[in-house]
Point group: C2
Chain length 203, copies 2
DNA sequence: GTCTATAGAAGGATAGAC
DNA sequence: GTCTATCCTTCTATAGAC
């Protein structure tokens, strides 16, 4: 059996990821994690010492998974427009397969802002922006993009794909009466968001 | 003293709001609420029976406060463009004064999606859209706005103002190295977001 | 209505046998 | 490494005096 072949530590880690992402740090119970992993509570402490240690391990893994999805766009040899389209296709697809990640990460960061600072200490955002600006130097005259606007632009781009997943509960309640299906909505959003941003940025 | 003159129930409710919004349902402690209200734990149960009852009372009040901020825009006698500008000015100002609300509400809804459905049972979103479309009928030929796009458009508009507050912890960590100040960023966003959306929607 | 004291349950953590 | 049993703290909730 694939499951029972897995090493215990890995089984615990995966169970903990499921439970923490679903319930959050405060709502998660060590007993629930042990149950899902198919072992007893004592093993959790044997491998991870404490709930806090276990949570930190899970959070760092999960947050890294989330953030690294933002970068591959940069390497692609595409026009600025096509990069935006590429980004939303890839990013929304990723979030479709990890629907609870945005809410989990946003929430846990607000509970403990220090955590994120450790995680992002290597990220040099200003240099990233400069790379983008330089790489697409010639195209930029067609766009409303300047260095000082980069924070607003980047946050706007991320908002359009991340927010709907973070707000899924509300959106589904709102959509219920209007016969809009959330999954279909997100599928269409891959192109809608790209078009929206491109029009917003084009001169 | 204004504070000690307040009726006990109200003092409890306000203290509970502060604590629940800050820590979430699972992280909040009845003792903390009692301390902040300046009374003992027993009184919380005397007035609100249980932590669950108290939380529900707080959540419904807070969520209502959030949602009702979306509607006054509709009553204003403004062009579509000016409504969008008006919305972001008002809405971001409201969120600046209630910075923790987005993360709190998004998170608690994901933990208990049923709650939101009760709250939104009176909201008839489809009729709202129709009202907007009818009211601005003549202007619409200049915009990429059709009934079937309304869900995407409305979610996009909300994303741009709500998401940055929900993600404040991340943004501040990212901004730290680039000398961007979050408060200044949100102040500028009142006009940036409006311009962004208007360009995105204009033909 | 308000307080103190405490019941009763739950949860994180550990001791110790195997 | 893995298990059972249990410790100890924390938390919600209530009993009962005033």
């Amino acid at each position: 059996m694939a499951v029972s072949d897995k090493q215990t530590e890995e089984r615990i880690f995966e169970a903990a990821t499921d439970i923490f992402v679903e319930k959050g740090m405060d709502g998660a119970r060590m007993q629930d994690i042990a149950n899902r992993a198919g072992i007893n509570k004592a093993m959790l402490h044997y491998y991870f010492r404490s709930k806090d240690h276990l949570f930190n391990a899970v959070f760092e893994k999960v947050a890294a998974k989330m953030f690294e999805k933002f970068s591959p766009v940069l390497d692609e040899e595409l026009s600025l427009q096509d990069k935006i389209r590429f980004f939303y296709r890839e990013h929304i697809t990723f979030l479709q397969n990890n629907q609870q990640l945005p809410a989990f990460i946003l929430n846990e960061i607000n509970r403990n802002p220090e955590r994120i600072k450790r995680l992002l200490k290597n990220l040099e955002l200003d240099k990233l922006w400069m790379m983008i600006l330089e790489k697409h130097g010639e195209e930029l005259k067609d766009f409303n993009i300047t260095p000082d606007l980069m924070p607003q632009i980047m946050v706007s781009i991320a908002s359009l794909s991340v927010f709907p997943f973070a707000a899924r509960g509300i959106l589904e309640a709102l959509f219920e009466k209007t016969n809009v299906d959330f999954d279909k909505f997100m599928e269409e959003r891959k192109t809608f968001a790209a078009d929206f941003v491109i029009r917003a940025l084009k001169k």
